[in-house]
């Protein structure tokens, strides 16, 4: 008589399930949930499998120690799971993530989401998955090679579609959090926590699947998922920007109250502060801000309200990001808008150093920018005027004091600043006046200006050397 039957094995598996599913489920759900009947049914074969895994030695001794988790789980994962176990984990963590999302426990949801994709990554594009697909939907041996390849591709497509559902679920969540699903709904209320989770979930998925080569992913499944997660984020960001543009177009600057004018900018500032700046977002936000600032100036709204500085303040992070991109060469073509924005920012400043710095940045990013160059030219004339003012207080006899070069240094300062003013904006109508004053002071203090001219000329010539 056969002593160990398949019923014995099934009974043993069931007894192990009874012993291990409750603590495992409790630990992996971060002490939030208990396994219900459905979970028991799904996971019934899992504990017997886990007991044979290398990671079991790590988690088994701490099964009843909640504090040891999730560190113990990560340690066990490092020891390695078989692909069959990872298939269990991919599904289990996927369900836990859904449950956490429904309960708005986003921190745990993100952990479960990441664990689920980590496990999928270990399962997809493996012999296990190929074998499973081939068991589930065996290819007909009578079919020719081409037909078999076509069927195999369609099976891969089914798998990809299933996984894409999870990505699209996050897109849907993001659209709800941002009120993008309903054009009639005001965007004022943002579900910040949901937005942060949804965005980070897609971002982390892209990160997890980065740098996967063809050898690791011959079917390209993992790389396609990565592309889908990245394009899902782009899709949401694009929708946000499109909504932002429509909101701006709907604003009547002549009559609209400040709250209405500022709303699109407040919204986009908050959204991208959470999800991070994209090139399209920064270029659009800066362009729109500059356009609306010009329109407000022309309509005189700038004088009636303080909307303009508020818009500049809201969009400053976008322009800083755009500046970095242009400077690093990762973006191009929006240099003048970036400089326009800096000019708007610099104009109301009263501190000379701050103005000089901001206009220099504008000219740096958009050489030859007319307004920035003009304003920078005037700031240099301020330096010239200050230096000439100090020079005028100096006695002409000072030049006879041996070793005294202060008068010469002061005039050199005025001379250089004037040269900069001329360099940045030659048509500056105040330049001839300061040139005249400089020459007069040079004559009074006995300083020959021509020596600096020669040097400047030769320095310029050197600059032109290849």
């Amino acid at each position: 008589m056969k002593i160990w039957t398949q019923h014995h094995a099934a009974l043993l598996d069931a007894l192990r399930a009874e012993r291990y599913i409750p603590p495992l489920y409790r630990r992996l759900s971060r002490e939030r949930y208990e396994a219900d009947d459905e979970e028991w049914r799904r996971l019934s074969d899992w504990p017997s499998l886990l007991r044979k895994e290398a990671g079991w030695k790590v988690i088994e001794p701490v099964l009843e120690q909640p504090d040891a988790w999730p560190a113990a789980w990560h340690q066990a994962t490092e020891a390695g799971w078989t692909t069959t176990a990872e298939h269990h984990h991919a599904l289990l963590f996927g369900r836990l993530a859904d449950r956490f999302i429904a309960d708005e426990e986003y921190e745990h949801a993100l952990w479960s989401w990441t664990e689920s994709w980590r496990a999928w990554k270990a399962v997809l594009s493996t012999d296990y998955m190929r074998q499973l697909l081939s068991d589930v939907a065996p290819l007909d041996e009578d079919e020719d090679e081409e037909a078999r390849a076509r069927i195999s591709e369609s099976h891969d497509a089914i798998l990809l579609e299933l996984l894409d559902h999870r990505i699209q679920a996050r897109v849907h969540t993001l659209r709800v959090c941002l009120s993008l699903d309903d054009e009639a709904r005001s965007v004022e209320v943002i579900d910040r926590r949901g937005l942060r989770f949804g965005w980070n979930a897609l971002l982390l998925l892209g990160e997890q699947l980065r740098e996967i080569d063809e050898a690791r992913d011959p079917n390209g499944t993992l790389r396609r998922i990565r592309r889908q997660s990245n394009s899902a984020r782009e899709q949401v960001a694009t929708e946000v920007i499109a909504r932002f543009e429509r909101m701006i177009e709907a604003v009547d600057l002549a009559d609209a109250p400040s709250s209405e004018v500022l709303l699109p900018f407040e919204w986009i500032a908050e959204v991208f502060d959470i999800i991070g700046y994209t090139e399209y977002a920064v270029t659009t936000a800066v362009t729109k801000a500059v356009e609306i600032c010009w329109r407000m100036r022309k309509m005189g709204r700038e004088d009636r309200t303080d909307d303009l500085p508020k818009i500049l303040q809201l969009i400053t992070p976008f322009n800083k990001d755009l500046f970095r991109r242009l400077e690093a060469g990762t973006s191009f073509g929006h240099n003048s808008k970036c400089a326009d924005f800096l000019v708007f920012q610099g104009e109301p400043l009263t501190d000379h150093d701050a103005r000089l710095e901001i206009f220099e940045r504008a000219v740096q990013i958009s050489p030859g920018h007319r307004n920035a160059s003009m304003l920078l030219s005037y700031e240099h004339l301020q330096v010239t005027r200050a230096a000439l003012g100090r020079a005028k207080l100096m006695l002409a006899t000072m030049r006879h004091i041996p070793g005294n070069t202060k008068h010469e240094q002061t005039l050199k300062e005025a001379y250089d600043a004037l040269a900069m003013a001329r360099h940045h904006y030659p048509p500056n109508e105040r330049i001839p006046d300061y040139q005249e004053q400089l020459e007069a002071e040079a004559a009074r203090l006995g300083v020959d200006l021509s020596k600096w001219e020669e040097r400047t000329t030769s320095e310029n010539d050197e600059d032109k050397e290849p």
Binding site: L11, E18, W40, R42, D45, E104, L132, H165
Partner: protein
């Protein structure tokens, strides 16, 4: 907050998981297993089994989806309740050999009521019959 339901439904109402079946089963095997279960089921359970069978066998692409989203099974038996499994297990039979019984004088102190028993020798005979005697 609402969430897109499609894959959730596929997982939650997954017939393979609900029935504890091995996702690698072919449509023919699934039909056979579910037919056997339906024969033993109550009328309302039978209707549910028919619904799940339809979900699994009508469209191949759906069956593949359910199979990929079902938990792997170690055997094709399917998950069953503990009590049901206990009933299926045959009684335990030990192969361990018992100690041989050797009656002693002490045993005679407890007189068996049965007359036949009383006739039994209290010690083994000095000479056991040989195999030739039996023949």
């Amino acid at each position: 907050m609402s969430d897109k339901p499609s894959d959730n439904d596929l997982e939650k109402g997954n017939p393979f998981d609900l029935l504890g079946l091995d996702p690698r089963m072919s449509p023919r095997e699934l039909t056979e297993v579910l037919r056997q279960r339906a024969e033993r089921a109550l009328p309302e359970e039978r209707a549910q089994l028919q619904g799940l069978w339809r979900k699994l066998t009508l469209k191949e692409s759906e069956r593949i989806k359910f199979a990929l989203l079902a938990h792997p099974r170690g055997s094709r038996q399917g998950a069953q309740k503990l009590d049901a499994l206990r009933e299926k297990v045959p009684p335990f039979l030990s192969r361990k050999k018992l100690e041989p019984l050797t009656p002693t004088a002490l045993d005679a102190l407890v007189s068996p009521s049965d007359a036949a028993q009383r006739e039994l020798p209290i010690a083994p005979p000095a000479n056991f019959p040989t195999s030739q005697d039996h023949d």
